[in-house]
């Protein structure tokens, strides 16, 4: 990382010598070639430049002026060869990359700019000037960090999904919209009412929890009462997703938005990683919530009751568990956690009405990879998905990064059909 820092300083200090043409130097009726030679920000005077046609017919030779600028007007449009005479450059300087020939094209009524970037010659034995590039390992570190960042958000979202799935057996395709909704509510408090983001987020999580409660009370609970099957509910959730998503779009619009706080926060450099302070905070919060909820599910009475309800609601009722109440608690928490995930996603990326839908598949992948219905499975699976997505871009084009993660999902399930932390059912 030190190298990267040095690189920037170097860049700023103009250690690299440039030669640039002004954006609009020539007259409007310019037709030809032009450029400006600069070394360490200083114009280079008296460098010789020869222009020939593509086939080598000399056209004109010019010398750069006091501003470092040169200019060749031509009559014929087409391709030309421009050669910089390196011997006329100041001592100890060279063309970056070593190539001193350019082959630009001149178009009718336009001037094309030709650039020769100059830099001081590296003294013999000294390493070449630092270009500020990052090494493989620095990239890997950065990507791992990004992977954890993404993975934790997915995990949080997955936790909400997994809670609801675990308790009610509902594969909720509208979970993405719960995520979006949380973010949009926080946005409304934050941008609409001008509340600082942290209290706005807390409010939004509470409101979303309430909405989750209401959703079960008024909708899913009623369906359960009517004996609607889980598959039918899954399909209904697709309808809910379409409804919510488009309502959100109606009110929120189709564009990307950002919270008014922590928006486009400048990165800070920590070791090999460059990240915004908000990322670190978000990851801390996410991890804390995940662990607390996971433990609560394993250890508390309501947590166990939730798992009992998931196994067998009738038997749970027979044991004295108020099934509806447990499910409502889970819905409340599930929606609240989904909202938090949405807010975190909004903080780390930006808000859009499809933000939840866009990561839904990754959430499902995380939940499934970890083992359906297990809270810690969701965490593990999501982290694997997140890290894999980002780190795989070291080898595959970023546009295909999801392919890598999804392929891992399939491969892992081939060998562990019950997911990483899932358990096999017994037969017989």
């Amino acid at each position: 990382m030190r190298r990267a820092v040095i690189a920037f300083t170097a860049f700023l200090g103009g250690l690299i010598f440039l030669l640039a043409g002004p954006a609009h130097a020539g007259p409007a009726d310019c037709q030809g070639l032009r450029g400006t030679l600069k070394l360490q920000g200083q114009p280079v005077n008296g460098a010789k430049i020869a222009v020939t046609t593509e086939s080598g017919q000399p056209v004109k030779e010019v010398t750069s002026n006091a501003q470092g600028a040169w200019d060749v007007q031509v009559d014929q449009i087409g391709k030309y060869r421009v050669t910089l005479d390196v011997s006329t450059l100041p001592q100890n300087s060279e063309v970056r990359g070593g190539n001193n020939v350019r082959t630009p094209t001149v178009y009718e009524g336009n001037c094309s700019t030709v650039l020769f970037a100059l830099q001081p010659k590296a003294a013999a034995g000294q390493p070449p000037a630092d270009t500020g590039q990052t090494t493989f390992w620095e990239q890997a570190a950065q990507l791992t960090f990004e992977g954890l960042n993404l993975g934790l958000i997915i995990a949080l979202a997955a936790l909400g999904l997994s809670l609801i799935y675990g308790t009610t057996g509902l594969t909720n395709f509208a979970h993405g919209e719960l995520i979006t909704l949380g973010a949009v509510i926080a946005y409304t408090f934050n941008v609409g009412f001008g509340i600082q983001l942290i209290p706005a987020a807390i409010l939004a999580v509470i409101v979303s929890g309430g909405l989750g409660y209401a959703q079960d009370r008024l909708f899913w609970g009623q369906l359960r009462k009517r004996g609607t099957g889980v598959i039918a509910m899954m399909i209904i959730s697709i309808g809910v997703a379409i409804l919510l998503r488009n309502l959100i779009q109606f009110f929120f619009g189709a564009q990307n938005e950002n919270f008014s706080d922590y928006n486009t926060q400048a990165g800070i450099v920590v070791g090999p990683i460059s990240a915004a302070p908000k990322n670190f905070w978000a990851m801390g919060i996410e991890l804390a919530v995940l662990i607390v909820v996971g433990l609560a599910l394993m250890k508390t009475r309501t947590g166990k009751a939730a798992r009992a309800v998931s196994d067998n609601p009738a038997l749970a009722a027979s044991s004295g568990i108020n099934v509806d109440r447990v499910i409502r608690i889970i819905w409340t928490f599930g929606a609240a956690i989904a909202a938090l995930a949405g807010i975190m996603l909004g903080v780390s990326q930006s808000l859009k009405f499809t933000m939840g839908q866009d990561i839904l598949l990754l959430i499902f992948a995380g939940v499934t990879l970890g083992g359906l219905g297990t809270a810690f499975g969701a965490l593990v699976g999501s982290l694997v998905v997140g890290v894999f997505i980002q780190v795989s871009t070291l080898w595959i084009p970023p546009e295909l990064k999801s392919v890598g993660a999804l392929a891992v999902l399939i491969i892992v399930l081939l060998f562990r059909p019950q997911g990483i932390l899932g358990r096999r059912e017994r037969i017989g």
Partner: protein
């Protein structure tokens, strides 16, 4: 579109004879413009342009003696199937010409359907090179210049600013990759080096890995080609330590927006340059647009949309028919060679007087070549200020031939 392409592909030949025109006396226009999706921010100016033109046309007495009818539909973006349904609806409403779509990809997905039905497909904003050679039965037109020109101007701008190392972040579609190719070529010719090029998926959940790839090469100039998702890219650039204050950023028509970045911290985009096809729209024209839609913030492609509607109307007058095929046959004629005029009233009066006209629009001289592309066009270079908005007055306009 090139009729040549139709002929070289034998399999398409039997279908290439456009179905019989179904002129019914009323010129019916359909719009297929982004109300939703990743170009939604460009919907309002485009709709406004068409609306304004229509208002003027109908005030001037309509076409063929009847008021022009218009139906608005949404083009969505490529991730939805909206465009296809919209086209079905428009065709069911007997649209003679369809104005849209904005995105080249969306247009590509419906062009066969529209031209197959014998209607004109007229885009005010498609800049992808693909349309120059597409098989379109001679029914595809556009008022926006193919990206050859924009790519050239942008590439030259990047080089002229002294960026010897350049990174390109391009949205992965026909527009994005085509434009990126053109920029990359120009930059390389001019002496710069494209050290990193990432074609990204605009639907990606985040762009950290893509930016990491750019960062790895630490380029001096960074060209951002995309639509609305560029806002996310910008955030990621800032986060990973490649802000506009240290690197030079360049944008294009798909993301040079006055609405998408305003909520970012002051100065985030300070000094960023962007190119948008189209000449300076006269103040007066912008005022008229605001009369149609007072909420407009961007004006991109409003002139092109306005010109598209006018040209179709003039074509119909010239052909004395409202059938798509007939209009298409006259469009080239009304766009060049003849007595110059620059609004519908003026032109239609000349036509009625039996004169050959040359419509010069707000977006430029609009002279169609054989492919239905404008032959000459202007690209404006804009610059952002510290308020993250660009001045609607360009730094500079460059006019050039598309060909060459």
């Amino acid at each position: 579109g090139g009729d040549t392409a139709t002929q070289t592909s034998p399999s398409a030949a039997p279908a290439s004879s456009a179905p019989a025109s179904k002129g019914d006396g009323t010129l019916t226009l359909g719009t297929l413009l982004p109300q939703t999706g990743s170009l939604a921010f460009l919907g309002p100016p485009e709709f406004a342009g068409v609306d304004l033109a229509l208002k003027e046309i109908n005030e001037a007495g309509g076409v063929l003696g009847k008021p022009v009818v218009k139906h608005d539909t949404d083009s969505g973006d490529t991730t939805t199937n909206i465009a296809s349904q919209s086209v079905d609806k428009l065709l069911a409403q007997n649209a003679d010409a369809i104005i849209g779509a904005a995105s080249s990809s969306v247009s590509e997905s419906v062009i066969d359907k529209i031209t197959g039905a014998g209607a004109i497909h007229f885009s005010p904003a498609n800049t992808s090179d693909a349309f120059t050679t597409i098989a379109d039965k001679g029914l595809y037109f556009r008022t926006s210049p193919p990206d050859k020109l924009q790519g050239r101007v942008l590439g030259d701008l990047v080089v002229a600013d002294g960026n010897d190392t350049v990174g390109i972040m391009a949205m992965q579609d026909s527009y994005g990759t085509g434009l990126a190719d053109q920029v990359a070529k120009t930059v390389a010719d001019g002496g710069g080096e494209v050290v990193a090029r990432v074609d990204y998926d605009p639907k990606a959940a985040d762009f950290s890995a893509d930016i990491a790839k750019i960062k790895a090469e630490n380029p001096k100039g960074i060209v951002l080609i995309g639509f609305e998702e560029t806002a996310k890219v910008v955030q990621e650039l800032v986060k990973q330590g490649l802000p506009a204050s240290k690197h030079k950023w360049y944008m294009v028509d798909g993301n040079t927006s006055n609405t998408n970045y305003v909520d970012m911290p002051k100065g985030t985009l300070d000094g960023v340059k962007g190119t948008i096809p189209g000449a300076a729209a006269p103040e007066e024209f912008q005022k008229k647009l605001l009369g149609v839609n007072p909420d407009l913030e961007d004006f991109s492609y409003a002139p092109e949309s306005y010109d598209a509607a006018n040209l179709i109307a003039l074509g119909a007058e010239a052909a004395k028919s409202d059938a798509g095929v007939d209009i298409a046959a006259k469009l080239m004629e009304v766009s060049k060679g003849g007595e110059k005029c620059n609004n519908f009233k003026q032109c239609v009066d000349l036509l009625k007087a039996g004169k050959d006209i040359d419509y010069d629009g707000v977006s430029g001289p609009v002279e169609f070549n054989e492919a239905g592309d404008p032959a000459v066009a202007t690209i404006g270079i804009y610059q952002y200020g510290s308020d993250n908005k660009y001045a609607t007055k360009a730094l500079e306009y460059r006019t050039g031939n598309i060909a060459g």
